[in-house]
């Protein structure tokens, strides 16, 4: 029995006057960590705002955790949202702000204080808890935003560009946190326009462009499905020319490019190619092979092929 989707939209569209933000999106987002990927202006934030009840659909429906989201405040016990905008009550300290927000979940003063301290500890802001948010650095502000999203231990976290403005160490820590939350059983939807960030968090993606969903699922599966684009395999070998002569004999090899110590092959049937290569290596016919990589079996290539 497949688990119920955490977000389910049916023909979901959103217009801002004449401008289309989201266009006929029908998608079921499974549990786990899902990366919402797309260039700037693709509709990621619009989709997230519809998911979190900030906006009303112009057409279609959206259900989150099996319930309608608009006009359903109780669902926010189960959802935590980290918005993109850098906006706070600058005069409040991090602890005061988090305490005040989580009190809106019905916690008592004491419970709220404890929850706020825990959340600050998770995002590494315990020392800055008593400092005004107005004096925080960009990275600290981003982290306190994350803290308000996780403070009530929700089932679903919706994070809109959570790594924006962070330094490399901060990014690494946050990515690690996201993976940890995913392992703990939370569902996360994380948006970004930076491909390698998403790749480092998850292989389950939702690709969006011009308000439409281009692809969804595992990035490798998606790559396999894009069969009009042959796969590129990069083989670094001791005798690249000899290797190239061997490859030419096979009809799935569409093109070859010789480099100084490697040969770049384009193949229409990567599975067959890899099996053959393994046999060649085992037989010693191909000589010494140092490295085999696939430069386009990644998100960048998928994105590039689909968005082009």
């Amino acid at each position: 029995m497949t688990a119920a989707p955490i977000v389910e939209s049916t023909q979901l569209s959103k217009w801002y006057g004449q401008v289309s933000g989201l266009n006929d999106v029908s998608v079921k987002v499974p549990g786990g960590v899902t990366g919402l990927l797309g260039p700037n202006g693709a509709g990621k934030s619009t989709f997230m705002k519809l998911m979190t009840g900030q906006l009303k659909p112009s057409k279609g429906t959206i259900r989150v955790l099996g319930e309608p989201i608009w006009g359903n405040p109780d669902i926010f016990f189960r959802i935590g949202f980290c918005p993109e905008q850098d906006a706070f009550y600058d005069r409040m300290t991090g602890l005061e702000w988090l305490t005040a927000l989580v009190r809106l979940n019905g916690l008592s003063e004491k419970e709220a204080d404890a929850a706020a301290r825990r959340a600050l500890e998770v995002v590494d802001l315990t020392e800055a808890a008593g400092k005004r948010i107005g004096g925080y650095s960009k990275g600290m502000r981003q982290r306190v935003k994350l803290a308000q999203a996780i403070i009530h231990d929700p089932e679903l976290l919706v994070l809109d560009e959570p790594l924006g403005g962070m330094d490399p160490i901060g990014r690494r820590k946050t990515i690690r946190l996201i993976r940890e939350w995913g392992r703990e059983g939370k569902s996360l939807i994380v948006s970004s326009h930076i491909l390698h960030e998403i790749e480092s968090m998850t292989s389950n993606i939702l690709l969006i462009h011009n308000g439409r969903i281009l692809a969804e699922g595992n990035v490798h599966q998606i790559r396999d499905l894009i069969d009009e684009h042959p796969h590129t395999v990069h083989v670094r070998a001791a005798s690249p020319r000899a290797l190239a002569r061997l490859f030419l004999a096979y009809d799935d090899v569409l093109s070859l490019k010789l480099e100084e110590d490697a040969v770049m092959v384009q193949t229409a049937r990567p599975d067959e190619f890899y099996t053959r290569l393994t046999a060649l290596v085992a037989s010693g016919e191909a000589g010494e092979i140092h490295e085999v990589t696939s430069p386009d079996d990644n998100l960048q290539a998928v994105f590039h092929y689909l968005v082009k």
Binding site: Q54, G71, F76, G80, F81, R91, M92, L104, N105, L107
Partner: protein
């Protein structure tokens, strides 16, 4: 926060509307009292106090300007002038416009409204909580200012505090009602309309001023009409407009004023909460 089981899954319910409003009040009151706008608030309510103290000092020094012939203008009359011209016609409507129209608009402009709208509380509770914070913040500043003015000016010309104290209490209650009524009207205008501040100013300083000059029923579509019915002082005549207003004035009974002010307060607050529940707020990027 109540939990109830439904279909084997625990369904959590957010805090009640009033509890949620109270929590939003807690969050907002500090911001309202300790923001830069407080400087404006302090200047606006501090100026009458400073003026009142000045008049008292001038009276003590025997300044001729405070006298007409050999008689000093009476303290209670001066207090009545302050109430009419500063508090009733300016301070209360302006604070209502300023704070009332920006209850949600400020949060939207500052892009912090997201944090409030993604909590398990009704959006209407956010508006009501912020409205309560406005009411308490302005009352805490305006009403003491009125009292200070009272104590400063009433003794001028030998006026007695004991005899005029009931009038002070009436004034305080009337101004409190004014803050409540204007606040709720402008809260609705702020929630519903674009450019609520200008529309609020047009209402308070355009519509209300002009309509009070026109005899008939139109003036009942103002808050000033009902508030002025509760003022225990004679209306001063400092200009042609106020002269005409005093000549054309009809004073409704106090109970009518109280009922209509309560209706205006509750009605517009309810409408404002309803608008906020249904409206989507698109934040500027």
């Amino acid at each position: 926060m109540a939990d109830s089981a439904s279909n084997g899954r625990t369904v959590r319910r957010g805090p009640s509307f009033l509890t949620a409003s109270a929590r939003v009040f807690d969050l907002s009151i500090g911001q309202m009292l300790w923001s830069r706008r407080t400087i404006f608030l302090a200047l606006v309510v501090g100026a009458p106090v400073a003026l009142a103290i000045l008049f008292r000092v001038l009276d003590i020094m025997g300044f001729a300007g405070m006298r007409v012939g050999s008689r000093t203008i009476q303290g209670p009359t001066i207090f009545g002038i302050f109430i009419w011209m500063l508090y009733l016609r300016f301070i209360v409507p302006v604070l209502g416009v300023f704070y009332g129209t920006s209850l949600i608009a400020d949060e939207v402009e500052d892009r912090t409204v997201t944090y409030l709208f993604t909590r398990p509380i009704r959006r209407g509770a956010v508006l009501v909580g912020k409205y309560l914070a406005y009411l308490v913040a302005t009352a805490l500043v305006v009403l003491p200012s009125v009292m200070l003015v009272y104590f400063a000016v009433v003794p001028i010309g030998g006026g007695g505090l004991a005899g005029t104290f009931p009038a002070l209490l009436t004034d305080l209650a009337m101004l409190g009602l004014g803050l409540a009524a204007y606040g709720s009207l402008f809260a609705w205008i702020g929630a519903q309309l674009k450019r609520p501040l200008v529309i609020g100013l047009i209402f308070a300083f355009g519509w209300e001023q002009i309509v009070m000059l026109i005899p008939g029923y139109l003036r009942r579509f103002t808050i000033a009409y009902y508030l002025q019915g509760l003022v225990p002082h004679a209306m001063p005549q400092d200009s042609t407009v106020s002269f005409l207003q005093s000549v054309l004035r009809d004073v409704p009974p106090a109970w009518t004023c109280l009922v209509w002010l309560a209706v205006i307060w509750a009605g517009f607050l309810l409408l404002a909460a309803r608008v906020v529940e249904r409206k989507e707020y698109v934040l500027e990027q």
